[in-house]
Symmetry: C2
Subunit: 423 residues, 2 copies
């Protein structure tokens, strides 16, 4: 019986051209983040099912690829339930494994610890265009630093990287979960309803203030609360004076130092930056993950609908492993999104090797002749050139066309004829 | 309830120092193999269970991590059997996925296709020291090239890489599955018994000729066969004249061109090589995988017991997907083994970045001062330096000791005191 040629549903094979771009981006990521003192680490693809299902992952927990128990541990009886079948699963993000990693190895790591992770994660999402069930995430995290130098470094490193990737005119949006909560508290919402309220607020950029107000009312919230809430957004709050004005209104609802910290971050990023981008306060920014405890940030570009990076502070997750909380702050670029954008740019030359040669050898040439050609190729390679050695196909013209597609220019395709030497 | 800190059984977290060596090796692999015209590709970690269980993987098929079906597809009734539970699994090698990949995408790929793969595979092996359930494989394969230029290129590329990694005095051992079969046929073994015979022959380097002879007899093979078999190994066959002598004895049992091809490979590799190593014919070399159809090769080093690379020709596997057979030949380095060897060498400096600076800022410095230091750091980074910016810990001495462990030399750790400027 013939085997199955296509990859499994929702996952993809990576063809050489895309791979070249992925390698280019990965190299740039590693070089840039390393220059900020981030060090690369890796965790296994497989995690304990108990950790994966510990409510750190929100909706992602529904999308876990679970791995069957093995050997005697898998006993199938009429009473067996679904949850008895799996003891592990594929990681759905890099944040939970990082927290486990740090909890396990803190003794061997510098403090604060600046980690860089680049690796695949898996989510059994409904397959759709441009969205795959295996995809690469790329995260930087600073663990054990409670000062806002962590946020400033993360934002500076990420914007430096985006600049090097050729992105311009992007915007860093910053908010703080504690401001979100203070606004909701100021307006009289019940704490139990905050998450529902934030999900509606998050739609502000799409449906506007009136839309949000209407949806709040539709969801059964009081007119008083909704009106007071929308009143907060009546003026432009996007710069430092906006943060100050909002803080003055919210007063005791806001923890001490929260607004001041945010102002420092915005001002410092502006001062340190060496790429063209803006930094704004966005009090409607709601990052989906419930583990965030403080600042939140996101980078958007006008050209592209969704964000290209996102992150924030999550001071409680590592404590779930150790009992002692360790502060933590991370920023994740949308690796796959960036690859898609670069693929569309079609700047082939940018990612290729500079000097690629192909040596084609006449079919039927004897072994000594072939070895001679290969010896020449070895000499060229030791000078840093790329040399592909191949036998000539029957259809030489087609072979050359194919090679040109692979980036071998015609001048650099050399033919070696044994027969000429024989004559 | 506290979460689980350790990685899942048999898998490991990679600490910064090991990661640095892994990145160094990966870089060198990519650069070296690229210079031979190999192009990097990737397949998903998850494969169809039907493909994984198609008998290409031998013993490895018993070690598959199987992935639970999801949603409605997973229906648990009292009749459910184990094989009903999984629709996919984690790949146990890179060769089967490559064959699927080529079968699926041949139209978009150059021909012959020279592929480089570096990626994790998973096997639920019994955990033991130095052996993990997730480990990286690193394969080069040439698909669609039936001439022995494929073998010569694979061996030259692999030995060039090992040379660059600092390995010396290794030995390339070559054999051919057709010679193995011809020897067994010449001695009168039944074709059905070949695999059993080869498993015993494979022990030659450990138990010697007498040991192999004894084990053959113990396994019920006839004295005639065993004697004739061991007689073949009475003389040294390890060089080209050995191949010739053996071929003369085996005569019609050996397919035409087989011995000549092997001689060409040995002579060409000798001629082309630019690293210090030997090439020998080893008629006792048996590579475990049953999918091999022709040449087999392995690289061993006296310092290390087991091999550091292995491969061979497998002309039938891709045909299992397409119905049309495509010839294929591959070589795989023992990535994890090489990492272990380099870790033991302790050449820390070799893999680090050349210029690493740490800027430590006094605790309590105001935001403007912190931003100033970060601006200086950004300027140094744009000159290619690595600059870690961090707040000073309470225990500054310990912090510096930690940084020294991370490769920051004391001269390059600078302290920035706000208070000095205040005064």
């Amino acid at each position: 019986m013939a085997l199955i040629k296509k990859p499994v549903t929702g996952m993809k094979d990576i063809l050489p051209r895309e791979m070249q771009i992925r390698e280019y981006v990965t190299d740039l990521v590693v070089k840039t983040y390393s220059s900020f003192g981030f060090v690369r680490i890796e965790t296994p693809a497989v995690e304990h099912i108990e950790n994966l299902l510990s409510k750190q992952g929100g909706e992602n927990e529904k999308l876990i690829f679970r791995i069957l128990k093995r050997g005697e541990k898998l006993s199938l009886t009429p009473d067996t339930k679904e949850e008895d079948l799996a003891d592990s699963g594929l990681r759905y993000d890099l944040t939970l494994p990082l927290s486990r990693y740090f909890a396990c190895h803190a003794q061997e790591l510098p403090m604060p610890f600046k980690a860089l992770q680049i690796g695949p994660v898996w989510r059994a999402d409904r397959p759709q265009k441009g969205r795959f069930r295996q995809f690469v995430q790329c995260d930087i995290d600073i663990l054990g630093e409670k000062e806002n130098i962590a946020e400033i470094e993360l934002i500076t490193a990420t914007t430096t990287l985006l600049g090097k990737l050729g992105f311009r005119d992007f915007t860093v949006r910053i908010n703080d979960r504690r401001i979100l909560k203070a606004m909701a508290s100021y307006c009289g919402f019940d704490e139990a309803d905050y998450d529902r309220v934030f999900i509606i607020l998050d739609k502000m950029d799409k449906i506007g203030r009136d839309g949000v107000r209407e949806e709040l009312l539709d969801s059964g919230f009081s007119q008083d609360c909704a009106d007071k809430y929308m009143e907060l957004f009546a003026q432009d709050l996007s710069d430092v004076s906006g943060i100050r004005a909002l803080a003055e209104k919210l007063q005791d609802h806001l923890p001490e130092g929260c607004a001041e910290g945010l102002i420092e971050i915005v001002e410092s990023v502006e001062k340190v930056k060496n790429a063209a981008f803006g930094v704004v306060f966005d009090p409607t920014l709601v990052r989906g993950m419930s583990y965030y405890t403080g600042t939140n940030f996101e980078i958007t570009m006008n050209e592209f609908g969704s964000s290209v990076a996102g992150g924030g502070r999550y001071d409680d997750m590592i404590g779930r492993f150790t009992g002692n909380s360790v502060c933590a702050c991370g920023f994740s670029i949308g690796f796959e999104r960036i690859i898609t954008i670069l693929m569309e740019r079609e700047q082939d030359g940018l990612y290729g090797a500079p000097e690629k040669y192909a040596y084609l050898i006449e079919k039927g040439a004897d072994a000594a002749f072939v070895a001679d050609v290969m010896k020449q190729a070895q000499a060229a390679r030791s000078e840093g050139k790329t040399v592909l050695v191949s036998m000539m196909n029957k259809n030489r013209k087609y072979q050359k066309e194919q090679l040109e597609k692979e980036g071998y220019i015609l001048d650099n395709i050399k033919e070696f004829y044994h027969s000429e030497f024989k004559r």
